[in-house]
């Protein structure tokens, strides 16, 4: 079990020597909660090591157990379903706290291991909704100190990219990460996932959610609004003209959202037609910026990840541009597309293996943690 051997406090850095089962880790923190240049002596990398990952960024509370070699043993989840409107952060956090015990038990049961077998706890530290993140972080801290194992805070966006890479075997992709809260085109460059393009206002998934609510669609369990819109769009026939907004590599969806709602209200087309047109325009915008990043970086792969990656229409469009640029098209499997604990656990493992861990006192959540701010030494250039 992990014991803290010595604590050295220098004026600017806090250096901690940690002893795990078969390894010693020198932890250098720069006082900002993450270590910039961790030094690694040797890392316990046995097959029997497991990481427990907790995801609680928004409406999903997920717990997964992943082995250090990258096998997902369990990936339990419970989603907060608002009675009306969007995600209420406080209500979502209350939901997470209520289901935490149940989801944790489910994860252990499915993985068929005991809590004492866990050698690392990872949690999503940001970006996301504060109250939700804090609930997950509290559970993670409690578990890590109870089990006396190291804790790793993981960036949610990095998690989506890393689980996509693990599941598809991609090594150096241009990533289109589209979900309810994020729309980012990124690629790895000099130690970090650089953002090449992103939304200037609302996220793609958010646009679909708000549109669906505005036109009176109902969310079903297991079928997010995006899936409902996709289903209707397949029945659409007539194209209704909607604003197409691409600014260089950045995108804007708020005008498109307003225009789509108005097109439905003023009966410019049937609901099916408007869903069809909304998807065509929005996904064409996404495809154009992804293609621009691909042409610019000349990377060999394209990875589609995040909740909206489950949309077949979007998949088929991104696949076309991947082919055109001789890049391999990779898409995260459906079960790992939406927010989940497995992506947090896996990214935690990658970070821990390269010597990164988060002390309990530095484990406060960072609701505005940008993808570019994460130093990712585990990625080979």
């Amino acid at each position: 079990m992990l014991t803290e051997l010595r604590n050295v406090l220098t004026p600017r850095n806090r250096i901690t020597f940690l002893k795990a089962k078969n390894s010693v880790i020198i932890h250098v923190s720069n006082g900002r909660g993450c270590c910039e240049e961790p030094k690694k002596l040797s890392v316990n990398n046995s097959v029997r090591s497991y990481c427990l990952g907790i995801e609680s960024t928004a409406d999903d509370f997920g717990v997964a157990i992943v082995s250090f070699e990258g096998k997902v043993l369990s990936n339990a989840n419970d989603t907060y379903m608002p009675k009306e409107g969007g995600i209420h952060p406080r209500e979502a956090a209350r939901h997470h706290a209520e289901v935490a015990e149940k989801v944790l038990a489910e994860a252990f049961e499915k993985a068929a291991i005991k809590p004492r077998d866990i050698s690392l706890v990872a949690f999503s530290q940001g970006p996301g909704l504060g109250p939700c993140l804090r609930t997950g972080a509290t559970a993670a801290r409690a578990l890590a100190s109870y089990l006396d194992v190291p804790l790793v805070g993981v960036n949610h966006c990095v998690g989506h990219i890393e689980i996509g890479k693990l599941a598809t075997g991609a090594t150096d992709p241009v990533t289109l990460y589209v979900s309810g809260g994020n729309t980012i085109v990124s690629a790895f460059e000099a130690g970090r996932y650089r953002i090449f393009g992103e939304t200037l206002d609302i996220a793609m998934g958010n646009c679909l959610d708000v549109f669906a609510r505005a036109v009176g669609l109902k969310q079903r369990s297991g079928a997010p609004f995006g899936a409902v819109v996709e289903e209707l769009a397949r029945k659409g026939e007539n194209f209704v003209s909607l604003p197409y907004t691409v600014k260089g590599m950045d995108l804007s969806f708020s005008g498109l959202l307003t225009a789509a709602v108005q097109a439905f209200q003023s009966k410019k087309g049937s609901l099916e037609d408007v869903c069809f047109s909304l998807q065509e325009v929005a996904f064409s915008m996404l495809t154009e910026v992804t293609e621009r990043a691909l042409a610019h970086t000349e990377k060999p792969e394209v990875l589609l990840t995040g909740g909206v990656a489950a949309n077949r229409k979007l998949q088929s469009m991104i696949e076309v541009i991947a082919e055109e640029h001789d890049a391999r098209f990779c898409v995260v499997p459906r079960g790992l597309a939406a927010d989940n604990g497995a992506m947090i656990a896996w990214t935690g493992i990658l970070a821990y293996k390269s010597g990164i861990s988060t002390s309990i006192e530095k484990s406060y959540v960072n609701v505005k943690w940008r993808l570019e701010d994460v130093y990712a030494p585990w990625v080979e250039e």
């Binding site: 939304t199 200037l200 194209f239 950045d250 055109e324 640029h325």
Partner: protein, 211 residues
């Protein structure tokens, strides 16, 4: 016809046209888009681009000469500009040259904005440094006309982002020089307003610490 650049939006071919070395910019149909949307985007951009390239020249910003426009086929034939992409050289010149080049770029962006032209895709791959020391702006495919503060801010914000993602080692000093050059062209007062706008746009972005 030799394909020299396959971009996201159009393909550039090197061709001889009436004994001239020219660039043919072809906006080929995109298979991923439905035909209605595809035709709309391609023809709009084909009409728009030569128009703004011409306006930019009037503003005193070097741009390629347009020889022919074919809207139905979405083709533009224009002058081949001899020189090097700023993207290729910016990281490899002396720091003095880097700053003067950045400042020159800023001055040119200032001239565009002063004449109500928003480039829309200000990256260092869309700027060519000629052997005579001029910076030629190319690719006006995403350009628009506006005298408002917001699009000017977005335009420069894109420039900043391009520097950060491609020339991250020198991004800060380069962008500072760009703004200094910009101020020379539009005046300090206007430059202040635009930089304040850039900050506002950045804060609007997702997960910005100071928001």
């Amino acid at each position: 016809m030799v394909l020299i650049k396959k971009g996201a939006e159009a393909s550039l071919f090197l061709e001889t046209w009436h004994n001239r070395k020219v660039i043919m910019k072809r906006r080929l149909p995109k298979k991923y888009r439905i035909p209605e949307l595809d035709l709309m985007i391609r023809s709009q951009r084909t009409v728009h681009e030569p128009n703004l390239i011409h306006k930019a020249k009037e503003a005193g910003v070097p741009t390629p000469t347009i020889f022919m426009v074919d809207v139905a086929e979405a083709n533009i034939v224009m002058e081949f500009v001899d020189g090097k992409q700023v993207k290729e050289i910016l990281d490899h010149v002396s720091s003095e040259e880097r700053l003067s080049l950045s400042s020159l770029i800023g001055r040119m962006i200032g001239r565009l904005h002063k004449h109500g032209i928003i480039h829309g895709d200000l990256t260092t791959s869309n700027m060519i440094l000629t052997p005579y020391g001029k910076v030629v702006f190319v690719d006006f495919g995403l350009s628009e006309r506006s005298v408002e503060l917001e699009p000017k801010g977005v335009d420069l914000h894109l420039m900043k982002r391009a520097l950060q993602s491609t020339h991250y080692k020198h991004a800060k000093e380069c962008f500072k020089a760009v703004i200094e050059g910009y101020a020379e062209a539009v005046g300090t007062e206007e430059a202040k307003k635009v930089t304040a706008k850039i900050r506002e746009i950045e804060k609007r972005g997702r997960y910005v610490a100071e928001r």
